[in-house]
Point group: none
Chain length 469, copies 2
């Protein structure tokens, strides 16, 4: 039996104990957004520190102005072994409405649901179960091999579910200590229960709020209607102009830095069989509303967007008020892909808006954040190594996907630590994260642990054979 096979066998033999151990962590109600649970957050951090110490990590609870970080380090087998930083978060979402839970959210249970064995608890999938897959892989490596195959650092955050206010300062203050060859981030999903996935792309985001001011006060639409500028008309025109009839964004220069997705990747996405009817049918829609002539997966994974997230102006209460408002405002966000530059998009949008505001009216802008997209080359050796290791473990080959949303820590690692991230996670679309009855499939937990054992082995082997990363 090879070393890897022995390690996988150890994970198999310990599975009941591993689940019981995870339950101890799940019992801690580490809800980060509610100050009432601050002590529980700290308790979860301390629990993780003790657990990592038991595997031989140098581990500590690190204070922040908010909830503490867990930082741990373990040497590799040699000075030139690959160095990875594993990231996860020990905080969880609130549990309300409590009455919709079938079991107590912080009393984990191993139950059968929809034909699968699942771990039911708040945080089972997001992200305690996920981060423990990596810890269990390390535990078996250490138990069987006496050493880890890579140099491993760990960063567990306690504020991911409440906006990560301490993360950027912490990364800046501890950049030297935390920088590794690359990060392993375990907070994403598989494609389905048989098919592991690696997220190679994450869309970026630019948020803007615009407020149009016309008259110096609200006006009576009888006295002034037909004569006075109406800011809702001006705003509607601007927002309508944002897209052409083909669904493309019309802001000049918007598509600078957007690349066409390689045909083989598009073909692999096509094979995943996600149809517009299926994806949109779940929410009562049927027709893709974005750029025409592109698949639903390309639209949400590899194309940029402009979306109005909120609009308000004039009288919006019950009944009717014949008023011409003085002001109207909208919150607009752009999802970015590839090499689109947030600052350029923001400037181009502001110019686009200003060109549509009459001379006797005015516009004010408020910035609501900006981050570029993350895109790893689909042919990167790091991705290929992980893909092969995952494909060995699961029934189906691993797929390279993208994600429509942002995972800010990935951008922070890139910007502050100059470090790319490998996004591998074992969650499923029906895990009900952030909702009542969150669960994590036992197979996600068990085969997830086995997957990390394999990935660590493969990364170490790559280094030995000199594979270029």
């Amino acid at each position: 039996m090879s070393m890897l096979q022995s390690i996988l066998a150890d994970l198999d033999s310990r599975i009941d104990a591993s689940v019981a151990h995870l339950f101890d962590l799940l019992r801690i109600p580490s809800i980060s957004t509610d100050p009432a649970y601050a002590a529980d957050c700290r308790r979860a951090a301390e629990w993780l520190v003790e657990d990592l110490k038991s595997i031989g990590f140098t581990a500590s609870v690190r204070d922040t102005p908010g909830h503490p970080m867990v930082v741990a380090h373990h040497d590799g087998p040699a000075a030139d072994a690959p160095h990875v930083l594993f990231y996860g978060h020990y905080d969880v979402q609130p549990v309300d409405p409590l009455e919709l839970w079938d079991s107590a959210p912080f009393e984990p249970e191993l139950i059968e649901r929809d034909g699968a064995k699942v771990i039911a608890a708040r945080g089972a999938s997001d992200d305690k179960g996920q981060l423990m897959t990596f810890v269990e892989a390390c535990r078996s490596w250490k138990a069987v091999n006496g050493a880890l195959p890579c140099r491993v650092s760990v960063l567990f955050e306690g504020e991911e579910e409440s906006g990560s206010p301490s993360l950027i300062p912490f990364l800046k203050d501890n950049a030297e200590e935390l920088k590794a060859d690359f990060a392993l981030v375990c907070d994403t999903n598989m494609w389905n229960a048989e098919t592991p996935a690696i997220s190679a792309g994450l869309r970026g985001l630019v948020g803007e709020e615009i407020t149009i001011t016309a008259a110096s006060r609200d006006l009576h639409s009888g006295y002034y209607g037909g004569a006075a500028a109406n800011p809702i008309h001006i705003l509607s025109r601007i927002l309508a102009d944002l897209h052409d009839a083909g669904g493309r964004v019309t802001v000049p220069g918007f598509y600078d830095g957007v690349h066409e997705t390689p045909p083989d990747i598009l073909a692999s996405w096509k094979k995943l069989g996600r149809t517009a009817e299926g994806f949109l049918g779940d929410v009562g829609l049927s027709e893709p509303a974005g750029e025409r002539g592109r698949s639903i997966l390309e639209l949400v994974w590899a194309r940029p967007t402009a979306e109005v997230n909120g609009i308000t102006g004039g009288y919006t209460g019950e009944g009717f008020k014949t008023v011409i408002a003085s002001k109207a405002s909208a919150k607009v966000s752009f999802r970015l892909v590839h090499d689109q530059e947030p600052d350029k998009i923001r400037t181009a949008f502001r110019d686009f808006v200003c060109a549509r505001v009459p001379a006797d009216c005015s516009v004010a802008f408020q910035e609501h954040g900006g981050s570029p997209a993350i895109q790893l080359p689909y042919d990167s050796p790091l991705l290929n190594t992980a893909r092969a290791a995952l494909s060995d473990e699961w029934d189906n080959e691993a797929v390279m996907i993208a994600m429509g949303g942002s995972i800010p820590v990935v951008g922070d690692f890139q910007k502050l630590l100059g470090m790319e991230s490998l996004l591998v996670g074992f969650g499923l679309g029906n895990d009900r994260i952030h909702s009542p009855n969150e669960k994590y499939n036992l197979s996600s937990f068990h085969k997830g642990s086995r997957s990390w054992a394999r990935i660590l082995a493969a990364l170490a082997a790559d280094k030995q054979t000199g594979a270029d990363r």
Copy 2:
């Protein structure tokens, strides 16, 4: 001293008491559009009934499915005396945004503003101060003469600011009781503080609320952005399409029934000297936003409009939320002129909207009232009698104007009671009705009361001399 002079002197001597009395009415927050103020609306009606009874009217609060009506009657000096129905409304507009008021909206104050003594309160001008000018005129007639010169009926409504849902049924059910020779309606403005005006034209109104529904729930703009329909985009497109580049309304058939205003009337309006710079400059604007190539007075008095009065959708709170809303809605009103038909406009607008809603989205419409425009001949004898009486009271001759706003009751009086209306009011363009810091000039209130005393005298004299009306 003639009887009329004695009556005017009585009004002069009682002015402080009359203002204090008006304050009692202004203190009642009779906001009709908000159900929370229903009891206050009733209280205002009861206050008016008691006041009319004190002058010798037979008066009562009359229930409706909404807010009650006030109906009162007073005999004339002889069976063949002219019979007038005076109309006003005791309800007021909402007061938000409250933080923009310099004083509490329902704590009236007599203050100096821009060199004039003004009564500051919600409803001071629209319409409590206006309706009390007539009540005070009757009070002095009764006090000095022991009788009124005409037979007088009164109708005070409590739903004028919320679409008058009960008015038409009430007029139908009480047509016999309410029908008079003609109506006196006091809900309009003077030309300026020295120049009284009689309104011969009033724009009509069609109110509609549209709600676009796209997905069955709010969506995450990262997961769904670029794929799912955004109802704010659909709504913005509809609203932007409402006007062409020349400011004309694009709804098919919208201009059916709109006539060009006679050149001599346009010339008389030109003489009034109201420029776009002056009219719009008061509210911080300079460029007319409606149909190009028409004077500012023609735009607001004799041309129809489409205005969005309110819009809301998605996240409108502080900060940002990356959401694609399920729903977005707008309140839209059309000002009508001449022979435009409200029902046809409403139907054409709904067709216009439906044509722009994607097949997998839906739209719901809510009707918010409709009334045609009113246009009286500029040479009617009734208008001429009132014009002479007003010219006797004020520094300048009274002018015949039109109005941009609707007074639906005037159309209802015409249609249901076969009764024309004399529109005389003492509001001023800077009264800030429907806005924070509403006010009514003390001179409007005092000389308005004197004007009604004179008009009642003139109408009675007309009848005696057999003037043709």
